[in-house]
Structure formats: structure tokens, C-alpha cells
């Protein structure tokens, strides 16, 4: 099995994974963040998470509670295009959502 080492280049947005015969460039993931607001009912947040992400009731409730108690929660992480698409869906559903690249 070829040895693998990860080299974190802090000057770029990527992590380089190298091995004896391959070099793969993997970008840091993008996070979809939902922010708390004073008017949105908790139940509505749960229904929106379930509809958009297909998460279980438990996971949707946990994420909703995280938004409520911590002011924000990362509800999805992955590639930039999908993060942007999910963020748009959440905004269309009326939630306060943004995307950010993982630090």
C-alpha cells in the first residue's frame, strides 16, 4: 500500500493529498449555515430541514435546537455548487441562510 501524506497549504483553499502514484487536490468543504431569527417558529424550521435535506425528524430537531441555542448551525457541508444550491432553497423557504468555506 502506498504511503499517503497530507500537506495543508494555508495560503490556498485546498489540501493536497499525495501518494506514490497519485496526487489529488481536495478543496476545503463549504458549509451551509442557518442563522437564528426572532420570529420563525421552531416547527417550521424542522419541516423545512426535512423537506430540503431529507434528514430524520431527530436530526432536523437537533439542528433546529442548535440554531436556536447557538445562534447558528451548520446544516450541510460539501462541494461549493451543492452548498450554494441548498442555501438558495433555504432562502426561498424563508430562512436566514448563508454559505462559508470551512476554516
Amino acid at each position: 500500500m502506498p504511503s499517503v501524506k497530507r500537506l495543508r497549504d494555508t495560503s490556498t483553499d485546498s489540501t493536497t493529498v499525495t501518494s506514490a502514484d497519485t496526487t489529488v487536490l481536495t478543496e476545503r468543504p463549504w458549509n451551509v449555515v442557518v442563522w437564528d431569527d426572532p420570529v420563525t417558529p421552531m416547527k417550521v424550521v424542522v419541516v423545512i430541514f426535512k423537506k430540503i435535506f431529507g434528514y430524520s425528524d431527530n436530526k432536523c430537531t437537533q439542528l433546529m435546537m442548535a440554531v436556536h441555542h447557538e445562534g447558528r448551525a451548520i446544516v450541510w457541508s460539501g462541494d461549493a455548487d451543492r452548498a450554494q444550491s441548498y442555501c438558495v432553497k433555504l432562502q426561498v423557504a424563508g430562512l436566514l441562510a448563508t454559505i462559508e468555506q470551512d476554516s
Binding site: 420570529v39 420563525t40 417558529p41 417550521v44 419541516v47 423545512i48 450554494q84 438558495v88 426561498v92 454559505i99
Partner: protein, 142 residues
């Protein structure tokens, strides 16, 4: 308290709002539709919140997709506001458009936290409570 929305055995959602209730949702749906098409509307900023705040401008395609989907939901909600029964897509359009109206109302009135909400005028607070009640009732059957 009588339910405002009831999921029937055939899957449809029965709307049990009276005329006053339908007037409230019609007005909210109509305002979202207008705001989406009017850059000077007081709700327009809420409907065009940043997607990636670290960038000076968001991807135009994503902005266009948001505008199109928000407008379509509002249009469907307006078109079905008289209906006695809704399918799931129509009920989703109702809920999302009402939720957009709720948040836009809060932002336009600078209600950014619990303190400002509690200190707001009673008429505004009652309107927000009314929309919240409708949203929870609808979310319960989705």
C-alpha cells in the same frame, strides 16, 4: 381550538380558514410577489439577502434561481388562495411564501432579536403572532 388545516385520507390538505384568514394570507402572498418584482419594495432586501457574505456579489445564476423560485411559490400561493383543498406542492408554496412574508416583516421593522420583538407595537406583534400561528398550523400537516 379548531384546526386551520387538516390532512385528509386522500392526501389533500383541507383549508379551513374563514374569509378573514384568507384575507390575511392573500395580502401576505401578494406582498411577497410584488416585492420580488420591485427593487424599491421594503421587503426586497430580505428577499435578496447575501448567499456568500464574504463575496462582493453572489453568483448571478444562484440569484436568478432564488428570484424565480420565490416568485413561482408566491404566484402559486396567490393562485390557490381561494382553494378549499391543497396538494403538497401548493401547501409548500403557501408555507414558504408565508414564512418569507413573516421574516420580511420582521426585518423591515428592525426586529432583529427577542428584545426588539417584545418592544414592538402591539399591532405589529399581533400580526406576527397571527402569521406564526398560521405557519405552525400548516407545518403540522406537512
Amino acid at each position: 381550538m379548531a384546526k386551520l388545516f387538516v390532512r385528509r385520507r386522500d392526501g389533500r390538505i383541507e383549508v379551513k380558514l374563514n374569509d378573514a384568514g384568507r384575507d390575511v394570507v392573500r395580502e401576505a402572498f401578494g406582498r411577497v410577489y410584488v416585492a420580488e418584482h420591485d427593487a424599491d419594495h421594503e421587503w426586497h432586501r430580505t428577499l435578496n439577502a447575501p448567499i456568500d457574505p464574504s463575496k462582493d456579489a453572489d453568483d448571478p445564476l444562484a440569484v436568478l434561481a432564488r428570484q424565480s423560485e420565490t416568485g413561482s411559490n408566491a404566484e402559486l400561493a396567490v393562485a390557490t388562495v381561494h382553494e378549499e383543498f391543497l396538494n403538497d406542492a401548493e401547501a409548500w408554496a403557501w408555507m414558504t411564501t408565508m414564512q418569507v412574508a413573516l421574516r420580511a416583516t420582521a426585518v423591515a421593522n428592525h426586529l432583529h432579536d427577542q428584545e426588539t420583538l417584545e418592544a414592538s407595537e402591539s399591532e405589529l406583534r399581533n400580526y406576527i403572532i397571527l402569521l406564526q400561528g398560521l405557519l405552525v398550523a400548516l407545518a403540522d400537516v406537512l
